[in-house]
Symmetry: C2
Subunit: 556 residues, 2 copies
């Protein structure tokens, strides 16, 4: 336990017993008769009051949070909560390399990976090591991208297959799709699931002579990753025959030199990272190697710069002008005072299709906790379920529930002012939908408005009476709008870091450790017990359901 977290325990009362929490309960009760439509009607400057921009010469990065169920006194109380939870002190502790991941005794320094100033961990400045790995990544990426790196038959690399899972997969896969316009002549593929079909389907059209595999596993023991890597190696050797050639087609992102060498990889092509880089925060590290190979190292460094932009904002902006702080507070407001168990992230850009899946790990693995930092059960709800699909697709799928369902689903709408490749005026249509949805969710449509519309359509009174209730939209459904100029590497870096810091702030407020993930251990442990039983071993000590399923699988 670190000094700052210990001192915090002494001085911070239990969150849900604080007067501020109680005042927020009262504030919530007051909201029963308030409609956003009226708030907007009575305050023409509401959007200016509740918008924040991170602007420079050619970028737009705007958060409009005015379509939320907040008013001045709401925000005042939420900000008070943040002050009382010592968000600023904990934030500074994170940036300075304190071991805030106390259950694993680790610092949390993904910000250093995109940083510019020295940071000490255990009295040792981490920046030179970071710089050295970045430099090695640059040299390697350049060699592969320019064709200087040759495969066993002398041909250059055309396809990179990243084998990794969780944080070693979701970030790079999301980013490569998002940054397709920056892609060069190398295609990027991702294999994660231990289901052999994913590897088989990926390799189907690839040529062993021009394929490079990145095996991404810090310990080089991750079950899924190692099995897929072995299968990929076998596929490669099926054609290449000579195990000596493995080194020309496999590299590793790992710190386990012995295992990497035993696999046949030249440890000169092993890229390391550190225990202060959590899996779900690792795309900024050597785990980002497939991104660097795909978009080039200059663009990768632009991504880092975007993350750094948000770090600076998070560190320097006062709480009431701080994007991640406000997003976190508003999220907590819905989770804890409006009983919202889910929230939607809705990027309108198709290339951000995997952004929600990426955020699922970032948010749900960080905030899906039931125990406070000091080992007590939490006394309120913590992390919500995060879900989402790209813009207009979601409109034709699940938006019905967001508009007319019974649960409150707060949403983040995300779009770019410009497209990399507008066709047929479609980008404006995309944006008209992006805008219309937040407007519709906020305003809704009243019974009177529906009745007028149906009357104007010439419907009969009986028909109107029967149909009208179904066409009413309650409105008052909260959304954030995030608007950027264009989906550049820098913008993507900003977006990711914005959510990282949002998650950090919520962890501080709920007083949970956002950086461990003990909840993934039990399943792994039990799977190890079951595996030999699927190979005909003696049935173990399971419940009748698990036993029955095993028998059914074995065909007994």
């Amino acid at each position: 336990m670190t000094a700052s977290s210990a001192s915090r325990q002494k001085t911070t009362p239990k969150l849900t017993q604080s007067p501020t929490w109680k005042a927020l309960k009262d504030e919530r009760a007051a909201w029963k008769n308030i409609h956003l439509r009226d708030l907007f009607a009575h305050d023409k400057k509401r959007n200016a009051r509740y918008s924040l921009a991170l602007d420079d010469a050619d970028e737009t990065f705007l958060l409009d949070y005015s379509k939320n169920l907040i008013r001045p006194q709401t925000l005042k109380l939420l900000l008070k909560l943040a002050k009382e939870a010592k968000v600023e002190a904990l934030r500074d502790a994170m940036f300075s390399g304190e071991k805030i991941n106390h259950t694993e005794g680790r610092a949390v320094l993904h910000t250093a990976l995109r940083g510019k100033t020295p940071v000490q961990v255990d009295g040792y400045d981490v920046m030179p090591d970071i710089g050295a790995v970045l430099e090695r990544m640059r040299v390697f990426a350049d060699r592969v991208r320019t064709g200087k790196w040759k495969g066993y038959s002398g041909k250059p690399i055309s396809d990179v297959v990243n084998i990794g899972i969780g944080g070693s997969d979701l970030g790079p896969a999301m980013a490569c799709l998002a940054l397709k316009p920056y892609g060069g002549n190398i295609r990027a593929h991702f294999v994660s699931n231990v289901d052999p079909s994913q590897l088989v389907d990926t390799l189907e059209d690839l040529d062993p002579a021009t394929t490079l595999f990145i095996v991404a596993s810090k310990t080089f023991t991750t079950q899924e990753t190692l099995l897929n890597a072995q299968a990929a190696r076998a596929w490669f050797l099926d054609t290449a025959k000579d195990p000596q050639q493995v080194a020309k087609h496999f590299v590793a992102v790992s710190t386990n030199a012995e295992a990497v060498a035993a696999f046949g990889i030249d440890t000169a092509n092993m890229f390391g990272f550190w225990d202060w880089v959590g899996g779900r925060y690792s795309l900024w590290s050597a785990i980002g190697l497939p991104i660097a190979l795909y978009i080039g190292m200059d663009a990768f460094e632009e991504l880092l710069a975007g993350g750094h932009d948000l770090d600076t904002h998070f560190k320097e902006a006062p709480l009431d002008q701080n994007m991640p702080v406000l997003m976190a507070l508003i999220g907590l407001w819905y989770t804890n005072f409006w009983d919202a168990q889910a929230y939607a992230v809705l990027p309108y850009e198709q290339r951000l299709a995997r952004f929600p899946a990426y955020l699922q790990q970032l948010d749900m693995e960080s905030s899906g906790k039931g125990i406070t930092r000091d080992g007590k059960p939490v006394t309120c709800a913590t992390g919500p379920v995060l879900f989402g699909e790209p813009g207009t697709n979601g409109q034709h799928a699940f938006y019905q529930l967001i508009h007319q369902g019974t649960a409150l689903i707060p949403c983040d709408f995300i779009a770019g002012r410009e497209s990399h490749n507008d066709v047929n005026g479609q980008h404006a249509v995309l944006l008209s939908n992006f805008l219309a949805q937040t407007e519709a969710l906020m305003r809704g449509k009243t019974l009177l408005e529906v009745q007028k519309e149906l009357t104007a359509e010439g419907r009969k009174p009986a028909e109107i009476k029967a149909l009208a209730p179904h066409k009413v939209f309650p409105g008052n459904r909260p959304t954030n709008s995030l608007l950027y100029r264009r989906l550049t590497p820098r913008t993507l870096g900003r977006l990711i870091a914005l959510y990282e810091h949002k998650v950090f702030v919520q962890g501080v407020l709920w007083n949970v450790n956002s950086y461990d993930q003990w909840g993934v251990e039990l399943g792994k442990q039990l799977a190890k017990v079951i595996l030999p039983e699927l190979h005909g071993g003696k049935p173990g000590n399971h419940d009748s359901s698990t036993l029955g399923l095993i028998q059914r699988i074995l065909g007994d």
Copy 2:
């Protein structure tokens, strides 16, 4: 309003005021001190009692629902609720072609698309028309698949691009991925989002001379689909030049012959469907054309047969032996008595990656309603948020929250006994994870167990005290296990129809119309108002947030 729904109103008391509902509330209160671990310990046959199989010679289709928070009296009450809601009568009304989609005055007959017996709508048997379209699909698919259908330059078709959105996209896209092992020599692609990037990225590697577009829009007016179709047509003509050739590369799934012909499509290649096929139930109709082109018409008819298997089961099995009925009741139990707002569908097969996204539309668009069939506000929660990612990927992403978070997230675990292409023994590893997760979620790990483990690892008492609470798993977290033999077209048909009927039963219980989607209208309406403003038109009457965002987009 149909006769049966009218009579139902008279005789059915408000759901939440019924004695059964109240008894379920008491039953829920009794569950405060019950742990599944103990129920399994005290009843070695719990799995047999709470499992159902749909078996024949070479298939396995098993639902094990024993790891749910149920005991005999729970199920008894839930089944009583189903009886009282007249699930059987409404089910029969659906199958017989009654207009149960009363707000749109339509029958709901996706079951007829895979059926074998005459069904009358407005005194007219729909089966001959269905058969005729299936026959035309067969002829067309055979011509394309065998290369008899030629493009403008005389080459056969290598790539099919389906342009559609919502139900005209999610089902075919999901099914083509799921049934990859049945794919032939034609590749299938899907474009849905109005974001032009999706079309641009899809067409990048395609050859206009060998690409066939399916434009799927019943009315041929869906904004996203028509814009993408026009852009695709322009891309095609850029190479082919002659508009007469459009007919060789574009076909339609639509009923608007005039618009289809105006686009340049030969109406002989227009495949129709009917107003009793809802978008999210349409993959069984001509909307399934890309599936038929991809896997062939014989395999497509196997998919239909799988759906029909579940129809027969749903119609014939008594309620307490009826898979979709039990899944619906258990789902309602969590939604309404355990306040679960989200549920997870977790297919372990990578090729089912898009099954959750498909189910999002099926479930959330059907059950995301706030108004009963008779136009009154519902008095309980309705449809939950559905989310999911394939098996072991999810384990490394969001399972943390399911294991140790504060909300109860019921989960469906789905896996096949066999793989189409096992490699390296990985399928057994996949299954060991599938099994271990439901076991872990059910059992959990107690503080005592954690303390023992940490002691055995040689940890110091102080360390154990600090760490142990974080490593405790509460368990008692409910799951269904769905096990099938292999992901064949027939199995996929069964899976889809199982969820369709589950959603149907929940709609009956909540007394909502599962077949309309008025909640998608307002956004469309407002988008039409905003679009001209993005092209420099006079700013309309919007709230300050929407106005501000429009100005920002325009760069003012």
